[in-house]
Point group: D2
Chain length 367, copies 4
Amino acid sequence: MTIKKTVRRIGVLTGGGDCPGLNAVIRAVVKTAIREYRLSVVGFENGFGGLIQNRARELTEADVAGILPRGGTILGTTNRDNPFSYPMIINGQKVFRDVSDRVVENINIHGIDALIIIGGDGSLTIGKELFEKKGLQVVGVPKTIDNDLSATDQTFGFDTALNTATEAIDKLHTTAESHHRVMILEVMGRYAGWIALESGIAGGADVILIPEIPYRIEKVIEKIIERRNLGKKFSLVVVAEGAKPLGGEMVIQRRVEDSFEPIRLGGIGNAVASQIEEGTGMETRVTVLGHLQRGGIPTAFDRILATRYGTGAVNLVMAGKFGEMVCLRTPHIMSVPLAEAVGELRLVPVDGDIVRTAKQVGISFGD
Amino acid sequence: MTIKKTVRRIGVLTGGGDCPGLNAVIRAVVKTAIREYRLSVVGFENGFGGLIQNRARELTEADVAGILPRGGTILGTTNRDNPFSYPMIINGQKVFRDVSDRVVENINIHGIDALIIIGGDGSLTIGKELFEKKGLQVVGVPKTIDNDLSATDQTFGFDTALNTATEAIDKLHTTAESHHRVMILEVMGRYAGWIALESGIAGGADVILIPEIPYRIEKVIEKIIERRNLGKKFSLVVVAEGAKPLGGEMVIQRRVEDSFEPIRLGGIGNAVASQIEEGTGMETRVTVLGHLQRGGIPTAFDRILATRYGTGAVNLVMAGKFGEMVCLRTPHIMSVPLAEAVGELRLVPVDGDIVRTAKQVGISFGD
Amino acid sequence: MTIKKTVRRIGVLTGGGDCPGLNAVIRAVVKTAIREYRLSVVGFENGFGGLIQNRARELTEADVAGILPRGGTILGTTNRDNPFSYPMIINGQKVFRDVSDRVVENINIHGIDALIIIGGDGSLTIGKELFEKKGLQVVGVPKTIDNDLSATDQTFGFDTALNTATEAIDKLHTTAESHHRVMILEVMGRYAGWIALESGIAGGADVILIPEIPYRIEKVIEKIIERRNLGKKFSLVVVAEGAKPLGGEMVIQRRVEDSFEPIRLGGIGNAVASQIEEGTGMETRVTVLGHLQRGGIPTAFDRILATRYGTGAVNLVMAGKFGEMVCLRTPHIMSVPLAEAVGELRLVPVDGDIVRTAKQVGISFGD
Amino acid sequence: MTIKKTVRRIGVLTGGGDCPGLNAVIRAVVKTAIREYRLSVVGFENGFGGLIQNRARELTEADVAGILPRGGTILGTTNRDNPFSYPMIINGQKVFRDVSDRVVENINIHGIDALIIIGGDGSLTIGKELFEKKGLQVVGVPKTIDNDLSATDQTFGFDTALNTATEAIDKLHTTAESHHRVMILEVMGRYAGWIALESGIAGGADVILIPEIPYRIEKVIEKIIERRNLGKKFSLVVVAEGAKPLGGEMVIQRRVEDSFEPIRLGGIGNAVASQIEEGTGMETRVTVLGHLQRGGIPTAFDRILATRYGTGAVNLVMAGKFGEMVCLRTPHIMSVPLAEAVGELRLVPVDGDIVRTAKQVGISFGD
């Protein structure tokens, strides 16, 4: 099934949660395919949904003109529609069916020789199975705004989200200072606390709570009171949505991610706020940054990394390296098997350089 | 009591909610007082609290160097501490007392000849009473981020908040488009919907809900379904926190404003979201912009208006126009009596130019 | 000739220099025309060039989707191609001919009943002549990034340029401070100094030089030395490109504007810099902001004003008010005859509120 | 001479050109020294000038509060004042003298045990000599906005400059497109073209000219004409100030860098523009970004790297690793001897990944 014929036509789709830089990847895929290798390109709409329902369109250079600085994805995306477990209503009942044969069929209808999947853990796992079980010539491009993929040094979208969160802290800073309040910012990061950690350092936070370091609320309160005793009348706290107290549970209620499963979202910021207000007697306010972290004009770094990924993915296709995924091993773009890439999270090293730096400039992690 | 002696020394304070441009006003007051009129300036800390408890400091040009582009107020502010109704614990009971004599005393201790109060409706009402009842030579500078003061064409801080809200809509746009969702942005505006209205037009929203135009949820749902039927797979809805359904009540839970009274905040965005999700079957997400609207670097417009207000307030002092407040009557800085200035809100004219423009480009107000 | 038939189809073009908000006007014209009045819309490419050479395309709502926050104009623009004096090569010689009959012909070919011209002084003058001499049913939308049109309170694009200039001053501030230098920023403003004046106040400049107030270099040097004597080790100077010394000439060399004539640009910033460096002995550096002032994402204010103008222009068409131009008379959108609108510049009032405010906070105009 | 006593008090200075993140380094040095190690800190003003003339002040946590997001350096900086070759006027003649003994003396007067030098190649070379020849316990922090230091993966300030340049390209894009012009952006990069290369990729430039790849103007013109023939009516060209034609010379006239020597600046952008305008007949405009690249609020990345460097430098001091410099070996902060760190430039690899990526998406380097 994996007989590699000459590649003349490739498909591309974006899956999972929205992320700044997706358009830059699509643009680089299209430009490299057409200019460098004289290939044609088909884009599937709305992730695997388009692949299953055969919603597709030809992508030319004109289609990708001007999209480099735009957030989102011109192809649409979704975190539903797994072809190996596709929801249907049969006899009035919602059931899940394997419709992966339809995917193969649609790939053949379009005469596509290779498929580039831009997505997170969920999408890349599907990609891996399409490669292994269905023999599709798949190449992956990793996407996770949380930057929690172990197989690559960094993922695009993270730098933009990080700057959005840092600007939010800058804005809360003046309010905190003027009103002598504790201001809490809740940011993304279900399992890995990178956005909270890095925006907290960049924004000059006093407390950072991340999933990797379970916190004790007394320690947090102690830090804020210590600051007050030193004459500092306000404090800034950055909380990852997946932060949890020592011995406690995560309180995420609903989060839009590349999970193909409903999950729960929100709440940790509020929970921490009540405890701080009670424990310190200081006015405490919460801001949940939410979807703003996924939007906006990508930073220069994200545009460059996304461009390198897109170009790299086409190069992998032309080298016949199917079942692999592009990755960054600073300063080079390399590749790893999808099988290795998915599944393992890149968590914040609890005793690593960055946490140590944060502690040395006086930031508390509540531990 | 209102014998006007030669002014040699003025006081200044900021009261009520944080607002971009407060520092620019303070800077202009200090520079104009010192450079133009050879006065000295005393700043009171944390609004009327500092005036009651005599927390004050001399302000020199060095103190205001570099603060023009900074959000917040170097003097601190609060929306508590009304000198005519000041909370105290007496015999274990919280009671409210008139401590306005202490204010007069502290003004005399510092040898202050005139007091500039930068604040919203609450603070300016106190200013009016200090002028009328206590004979203090008060001049006011209006501050309301909601831009809802009838006595002036525009207030500083509004333009910055408007741009922050517009940028947020820009960010939500790409996510809405990529995921085919309804995205809701809840912005400030308890009684007047200016921020929602103007950011909605600037951001290209499809629906805008404001307090002045009670909405019917069926109309909102109708609009979104109409768009979907035209092939537009997403919609953007901007909701002022004070928006309310026809015949319904405002659902604000707690809002930090210049009210000197606790109020309730949040929720209208979520309420509308549930109804839209149910009514359209489309994924709907809410972002509450909250405190981010009060922070950040002031826009050029706000810095200029704030500077003109600050300079204008000192000019009023020197002209002996006490009990008055600076205001903008485009393109001039003028003044009005505090008695006229407070109390009356500048609401969005329901049949005015701007609402009509919005409707003509296809925006629904749910009416 | 001015027999008004029922309007069913309108044309639109953009002329003169690029300006943030042009796309927002086009979008509002198209949306209002189609949604509100069921008209169809034709867009001419590259200003009057497209009207002469009949380069045109139908504009639908899909064409204007997503262009609200984008700088530039999807129609293209140019500051050449006056139909009453159109350059041609005849017998190897460049000559200028009246080709306005071709314009009328093309208007008729497309079945256009009214033409909306978005442009500056040059374009609107042509519009006036097409209305007066050729009987075309013309409506104008004023565009000048310099904000120097007497017939309207403000023009779109100015607020964006002002914020770009102010951010540039903010950036130069830190360099000036760190290196103890005099930093000069040269901004647009050939005849009117609005951008220099307002960005100078907003950015906290020490000296502002504008065309309306001829400067004496000794006064500028004096101000900088006075600051140094007060221990302030740097100074910021904002210079409008049209600033000139008392009794001297403007030194603009080439400037891209809506002039339909070649002009000269640059140099005043450098001229002033050499004199300051010589007169004070301080390191002095110049930044010419140039084209950056015309680009970028329009501010909320500019998007709203542009939208109101676009909608207002279509309303004028439907009211049969030809030969008129939309204008802002705060807070209303009104109209004035094109004949009144063009020709007279709105200069900075030398003794007005704003200049006085600037002087009161210590800014020197070199006078 | 290098007898290491217990460190109780450290000095810090910033040398060379202004760079976003300098304040973040100073803040981290002060916080880490005081909080983590109970040291005291002395700041010298204006680079080595302050060390020679003994202009110094104690730095406390209060001094560094709020400076994290601010560009520039609170200590001041200069690219003059080499203590081993210090300019003096003797008998009316300007001569250069070794005054390094004064440096040692001042270090002793303040009881300083170790000196942290934050600077570029010039400053670090002086640091190396103070360590080697004078036995001062020096630790270095590398600073170069051009990112051209071989000893570290990245330097702070570069990411901010890169984003400033990318935003400028975004702004020029709309003007180029609207006017069908060639727009040229001249950016920093005397010897290494990193800013031009990366901003060019991020901004979607069509041509990038860097010092490492001498260009042939015919190739540049060819590329622009090729685009025009494909219907693309504009082109964007990014030029590093040090770019030069094949066989030609660099034309920099005066550049403010860490050189301790006067150099020449400007001109390559204009030179290329004339040739393009002549060769293509298209309107061509130049923007020189200049000092704007050094200013502004540092990006999150730069604030974090600067914080890690500052903390890392104090850690080096406490570990007794004198004569060394902190560096980034992704993802770790490490150190290298100053002797290795200076002198060798990190140039753009002409056949590296990034240049190849750029070529694959269709960017020409004029080679």
